[in-house]
Subunit: 346 residues, 4 copies
Amino acid sequence: MIRFENDYAEGAHPAVLQALIDTNTAQTPGYGVDSYCEAARATVRRLCEREDIDVHFLVGGTQTNTIAICAALRPHQGVLCATTGHIAVHESGAIEATGHKVLTLPSGDDGKITAAQVRDYVLAHRADATFEHMVQPAMVYISQSTENGTVYTLDELDALWQTCRELDILLYVDGARLGYALMSEGAMTLPELAARCDMFYIGGTKMGALFGEALVISNPAVKKDFRYILKQHGAMLAKGRLLGVQFEALLGNGLYFEIGAKANAQAARLRATLDALGVPMRYDSPTNQQFPILPDTVLAALSEKYAYSYWERVDATHSAVRFCTSWATEDASVDALISDLKELLS
Amino acid sequence: MIRFENDYAEGAHPAVLQALIDTNTAQTPGYGVDSYCEAARATVRRLCEREDIDVHFLVGGTQTNTIAICAALRPHQGVLCATTGHIAVHESGAIEATGHKVLTLPSGDDGKITAAQVRDYVLAHRADATFEHMVQPAMVYISQSTENGTVYTLDELDALWQTCRELDILLYVDGARLGYALMSEGAMTLPELAARCDMFYIGGTKMGALFGEALVISNPAVKKDFRYILKQHGAMLAKGRLLGVQFEALLGNGLYFEIGAKANAQAARLRATLDALGVPMRYDSPTNQQFPILPDTVLAALSEKYAYSYWERVDATHSAVRFCTSWATEDASVDALISDLKELLS
Amino acid sequence: MIRFENDYAEGAHPAVLQALIDTNTAQTPGYGVDSYCEAARATVRRLCEREDIDVHFLVGGTQTNTIAICAALRPHQGVLCATTGHIAVHESGAIEATGHKVLTLPSGDDGKITAAQVRDYVLAHRADATFEHMVQPAMVYISQSTENGTVYTLDELDALWQTCRELDILLYVDGARLGYALMSEGAMTLPELAARCDMFYIGGTKMGALFGEALVISNPAVKKDFRYILKQHGAMLAKGRLLGVQFEALLGNGLYFEIGAKANAQAARLRATLDALGVPMRYDSPTNQQFPILPDTVLAALSEKYAYSYWERVDATHSAVRFCTSWATEDASVDALISDLKELLS
Amino acid sequence: MIRFENDYAEGAHPAVLQALIDTNTAQTPGYGVDSYCEAARATVRRLCEREDIDVHFLVGGTQTNTIAICAALRPHQGVLCATTGHIAVHESGAIEATGHKVLTLPSGDDGKITAAQVRDYVLAHRADATFEHMVQPAMVYISQSTENGTVYTLDELDALWQTCRELDILLYVDGARLGYALMSEGAMTLPELAARCDMFYIGGTKMGALFGEALVISNPAVKKDFRYILKQHGAMLAKGRLLGVQFEALLGNGLYFEIGAKANAQAARLRATLDALGVPMRYDSPTNQQFPILPDTVLAALSEKYAYSYWERVDATHSAVRFCTSWATEDASVDALISDLKELLS
């Protein structure tokens, strides 16, 4: 079985694993205050071109989203996101478990929400005579890249950021697949992102780490006492140095960006084949996730050799599915898939 | 600096690390349903001599305690534990963050609570005319070994278990340092433990894993839907196989028990020296944590070369401190410490 | 100002107030275990034709919904309701504050959800490969009458109830305006309702009480320990007898149903006028809430003399508004409104 | 049966009831924004001699404590109180249900905590190397009068207030029985209290109202958006005017203070008798609650005619019990009790 079902089917990128091996016997204090974490924090600050940010290393994405959001909101406040947002759909109610409602805004096939949607929602809330009977929108959550593989442009992000500032609400960017987004064509840079939100995270799990996400906080109110909340949610890893070691291996010398670029290129190869074969795409993604709409018969044939994610039924005989590439995707695997697709679809 | 401050100062035991290296490029499904996790689950069942248990692999201790407890309780229920219990003191209110009160019972220097204390508390609650105005005790939490390094005997555990059954409340055992407890002199066996509680966990983080705890659930009501709650708390590791691989490396061939025995032996060497030097111990621990009461002047001298945990002030010139051994503790480190103690204290 | 904006603009129906006056100096135990509450509970059981129900008296609707729902669900479970459901929109996130997601199903202008929608949602959840990553639907919430003034028929309720039984999920009916629903034309009876849900409440606040809702629980699992959860949510009124006295006054001799019938009749008078004047109705309500779509100029004129609830903009020059009648609505008030409407609209 | 078991055995003081009768048919907007509430708020401000306070009317004490505390704390923060504090013991874990730990400080028979205890606890927390692993103390809760009937002096309150300011933590005063405290000998005035805390409430339920507590907030951060949180907790009464009417009846013309003084005087009569009979008191209370230690035989005899609260066993043949007076306690009732005590004890 060749696995394209997600971007976390293997362990760690060899360089990340090597860094863990190299540092295995070093003795350090626990809980993320060791020198490896400090070095990785310095690297994140350098790459973001901001010295005023706090950097915390967490284990996974749901954990990071949950803690970031609950640390920032008061009890009556909720977070706006796309109907397809990960926090709205695929975190088993983690945000609600901390007491906060996820307020959804409809998004199209691009999986994005707009500054105008946010402004309209917030102003409508504030203008409603019964506003105190409804959850107060106090934060916007987006993901970069989105669940549909698409990427917010700098202009789109900037509009969201200006709107959030105007409305005095927070902007948080889920970067589970940030490396793929940053390396897609025409994408914003990391400093451009870091300058336009209150918090975001640099995803590691889906970008070659064994596990780990680096949460960057620039908003002073959220920074305060954040480590207490990490601990309270079981997210303060005893051997915190494992996260520092991995993020330094990924970010210290550009590996993170190479991984993103390579996976995007593998996905583009697959996409080019699908386009050439006239296969429609469910979403128009420039990143490592591709969503072709294929005949069910073809999918059945593929599934004997390849793992992919079933996405949704499109019509009686076709379904959308997801193929992901990653740092670990080998040329031969993509070649084989391309070859089989050509055979099955011609 | 030679670190004795805790039992998680290094990475993983070499055999655990090697297992991660060996399996790094294998492709698996995510979220703990891979073959490595299945194998490790089978091993846990075999070692516990129970086929009817569910086994879930989590990342850390606070996370495990929180999820196990909140999955089992209804909103009005609380959990009984020693005043020194980890959930009562050192988890930043993680249990309360899920809505449940930690109900403390006084414990002596052995850090334990007794079946009689539990029975008295629960019966007093039920007899109180205003019982509905108070949190209902519905679970007992103990740790094995305790925060003070002591170990519940089989008789003590059995009494707690019988009492909990009688009272129709749950018994949960935090096994962050279970391997040290199981390998202490005269200790109960793993099957004996597994037969006498509703849930317990086999700690990995403090026993040679990079991270990870194996939660064993025998109570049917708690088993149901447990994976939803894992996910909701950000505890369903994307690359769940990392946990299966590590636990199989630890448990499959007895390494876990060797680690426990070796660390206990190192601690016993230290203890023998301290006893010989007439140093009083704050608690009488047969496991890898030792709590000598030392002159502050001696501690100041030691701290230039050794890291230890400060525990509490005993009198104007003496303090109790904690020294931990682990799988990684080298003979030379203990030798050096013993030698320095002899010199400083004679 | 003549107020039609809601059905709780006055104090209590005179008979309810008189009962409070008559019992004011009696001494009783607190917290709802007095003889007035016992009598009212017996009355509810008699009227429901069920001896196996538990009856709890609470203060208000949001409180009742919150406690009923959180008492019944485990942490990973959510509650299905219409997008217009009170718990989804107008309770400031009360359900989420207890950790549970409100899962919305689209409803049409009738404000209802159907058995088929529930079945489809639950079966789709259970069939999804990632079901554990999503909130588990475990309860259905409907209101009778709905937010749009409409009424579930016995067949509709029965289909929901059978579906919930089949799917092993709970059915809860919010009866804030139950009296208006029960007295609408062709409506189900109270015993018919009581036989077809796990919990419901008989609303008092909007039906002539100063305050108070009578929650009826037939599901044994939810019954257990319910008073603890009442107390935990600050809903165990110290002078609980106030609730028993009021509900006995309302229910003991049929006053509750008279109030419902009278208010419906007043609303019908208003509706007949609107129909005759060719005014379209936003929703087709047979109960005490009426939702005409009126020219903004007419609304501006009306608002100098009448209070009503603004509902939503319909087009550039028209808005939907809500007029409510209640036990307290005087004939003269409706006469005046009818007269003014005729003048303004002709 | 003559009831002395609590101070909420009857309905409302006749003047309060009359005010409800007088205003019953008036039409008002809902949710506490009516003119009765506004008038009562103005009265509270006048009596507190502070124009900068926000006043919210809630239904009961547990509800008020819960909402006040959860509105003010961030997720990792807890509230300090006496081990006997109402929130620690008798609210079924209401505070924990909102995610916050109640941190207890030992109190003696006076039921009070001191500024020194608070300072020591907070400074010890801040000095602990593992402070982020423990709940952060961020608020102090006291009750006035206390659970034991005792009263904080102005000096004691002032010391707590200065300490909280120094430490940058909040001070909240539970005034369920504030009227009894304010009217006890040598007590602080209402303006003196209002100047020395961040929040407090003026209890109505135990002081002659049918129900209701007036929460006074002076801290600007807690004021913000408070009504959302009221609604979220089901504490925004639909007919909010009922609370405004009652508090204006109690506070507008001094009735509240007369009630406190009268009940204290009744309690003092009882106390004088007990003292003369040589009956020891469990606590030395100057307010409406009295806690004699009586022979069990005497208690058995008394219980045929009087209701009192059982407090605790003192020795094999004696128990402490509680007798409460209130606005409703008649002279004849106290006379009868005094007479019976004399007979039984001589």
